[in-house]
């Protein structure tokens, strides 16, 4: 039988798996990354369709800080992976907004803008707001053994206006919360810093730039990568992951196995024939996310700025009395969502050749999962229209006919697409509601990294891979 032994096997070639792989390969470990799909990037990937290149997942890279700002996650990540800042070619956002029915807050990569907006629109909350910001700034959000605390509870000690509370939670939840209505405070802090104290940026050519840098680092450090190579099972022996069985039946062995595919998804590999409805058998297996999304993308033959859509990079919108971050009751919940206009980053004298308009809304996996193909396509069409209409209420008005005549192409992902490409149960983008910060599992040499370890955003995902590789393998604390 074909049989190969590695120092470490990493399951998944997403941001976290690639970052873990670079660390280990750089320090001379024999590493193999196994990826079920033919494209790397995981949740944040890219594809070509009808001759056009699309990004999926990533709206913007969060955690952006200007060159020279040190001690933040972006700087740590670049150092740990030996990447020069210029390689990511990041261009900062113009501005973003939190747009609720009767109130708006503008923010940019300069925190003073949001700070002034809050003080001007919620004068009675200004002191509490500043106290909250102080707590966030000093909180140790990367501790691997912090006790979980409710973010609603901590924020509620400082901010009493429900509208301001909802406006703060809306972007923070949309960009990373796996939990309905609340978040663990450490997760809130990570996202608050990533979005508001740091900021948004994007390479002109999108997420593929970042993935290519990671792939090249990994390759040149001597790492091995097998694509279209899924893991079917992990075989346990004496409390260890003894063997990794691939989809084609080949078995590999390794001193360490790092899985980026999610906590329940990883445990399921250890139990043959496991499906999510069997989760009653084991509490760890009930730690499965419920929140999924749809995203629409529209390609136009002109720049959005021509319609007065040239200022906003990201808009987080909501029109209900209270912001409801829950699994959609219907197929999609278009009451709130996120608009991304990738044209509106400061690319200098370069521009994207076409106009792009993306809208993300909460969706319900169960109501998409088992539709017959014809119905699935019809529902996609219907919700595409509903989501884009809902979102456009928060942008300067443009005639339907004007947009239709400029439209070149559209595409859309649903919870079903997410399940297909990430393997996450329920198409849960942000994974399990309860994160496993130290990455430990029931097996002594099997660890988690990525979404379910709980450092959020793509910079967070890469830091997760780095931290777990350092902690469990390079420092040997596993």
């Amino acid at each position: 039988m074909k049989h190969t032994h590695y120092d470490a096997i990493i399951i998944g070639a997403g941001m976290s798996g690639l970052a873990a792989g670079i660390r280990l390969a750089h320090f001379g470990k024999k590493v193999c990354i196994l990826e079920r799909h033919n494209a790397p990037g995981g949740l944040n990937s890219f594809y070509s369709f009808a001759g056009r290149k699309y990004d999926v997942g990533l709206h913007a890279m969060t955690n952006y800080v200007a060159p020279g700002v040190k001690g933040t996650p972006l700087g740590k990540l670049l150092r740990q992976l030996r990447i020069e800042r210029e390689e990511f070619a990041l261009c900062p956002q113009k501005q973003s907004r939190i747009a609720f029915r009767d109130c708006g807050l503008r923010f940019t990569n300069d925190f003073a803008v949001l700070d002034a907006e809050v003080a001007a629109k919620f004068p009675a909350q200004a002191d509490g707001w500043r106290r909250l910001v102080g707590v966030v700034r000093t909180y140790d959000d990367v501790s691997l053994d912090a006790q979980p605390v409710s973010a609603r509870e901590v924020v509620g000690r400082h901010i009493t206006d429900p509208l301001l509370t909802d406006m703060i939670f809306c972007p923070v939840m949309y960009y990373g919360s796996a939990q309905e209505q609340d978040m663990e405070f450490g997760q809130f802090v990570i996202m608050f810093k990533a979005l508001f104290l740091e900021g948004f940026a994007r390479p002109l050519d999108g997420v593929r730039v970042i993935i290519r840098v990671l792939l090249e680092k990994y390759r040149s450090a001597g790492g091995e990568r097998r694509m279209q190579c899924g893991v079917a099972r992990i075989i346990e022996e004496q409390g260890r992951a003894a063997r990794v069985v691939l989809d084609d039946g080949v078995e590999l062995t390794a001193e360490h196995v790092i899985s980026s595919i999610g906590v329940a998804e990883t445990l399921a590999l250890c139990r043959s024939g496991f499906t999510p409805d069997m989760s009653g058998l084991n509490p760890d297996l009930q730690n499965i996310g419920q929140l999924s999304f749809i995203e629409t993308i529209t390609v136009f033959n002109r720049q959005p700025a021509e319609w007065g859509w040239g200022d906003d990079t990201i808009v987080f919108f909501n029109d209900s009395d209270r912001f409801d971050y829950v699994r959609a009751r219907g197929q999609v919940d278009v009451r709130s969502g996120v608009i991304c206009l990738p044209n509106n980053f400061a690319y200098g004298d370069r521009t994207l050749s076409e106009g792009l308009f993306r809208v993300t809304c909460l969706a319900n996996y169960d109501q998409w999962a088992h539709l017959p193909e014809e119905e699935y396509q019809a529902d996609k069409q219907r919700w595409f229209t509903a989501a884009t209409r809902s979102a456009r209420r928060f942008l300067p008005p443009v005639d339907d006919a004007v947009l239709a005549s400029a439209q070149l192409a559209t595409d859309m992902f649903t919870p079903r697409t997410i399940k297909k490409f990430t393997g996450h149960f329920n198409g849960a983008i942000y994974g399990a509601p309860r994160k496993i910060r130290n990455g430990r599992t029931h097996l002594s040499n099997l660890y988690l990294c990525g979404t379910d370890q709980g450092f959020l955003g793509i910079v967070g995902a890469m830091l997760s891979g780095i931290s777990m590789a350092n902690y469990h393998v390079l420092q040997g604390k596993g």
């Binding site: 320090f27 001379g28 020279g68 150092r79 030996r82 020069e84 800042r85 780095i466």
Partner: protein
């Protein structure tokens, strides 16, 4: 290997780990942490690069010996094979 050679090797490592730091005016007696923005992840990397490049092991109990460039040289120089 002289202490000055050793300092240079340590600076080479730091410049690869933290290319965004200005290393031209490091004062050897002052703690690296006090003149450069280096965190615990960076110090761990100095240790690991010493092992990777020069085969030198620094046990966790000795990490304190790497506080300044001077103390690095004091501690690390004898660990390099001496030319006769």
């Amino acid at each position: 290997m002289t202490k000055d050679d050793c300092k240079k090797l340590v600076i080479d490592i730091i410049s690869d780990i933290a290319p965004d730091e200005d290393l031209s005016a490091i004062k050897p007696e002052i703690r690296l942490r006090d003149q450069l923005q280096l965190d615990s992840m960076d110090f761990l990397d100095i240790v690991m690069e010493l092992r990777k490049r020069h085969g030198i092991e620094v046990p966790e109990t000795d990490y304190g010996q790497l506080a300044s460039l001077e103390s690095c040289a004091e501690y690390l120089t004898p660990k390099f094979p001496q030319k006769s």
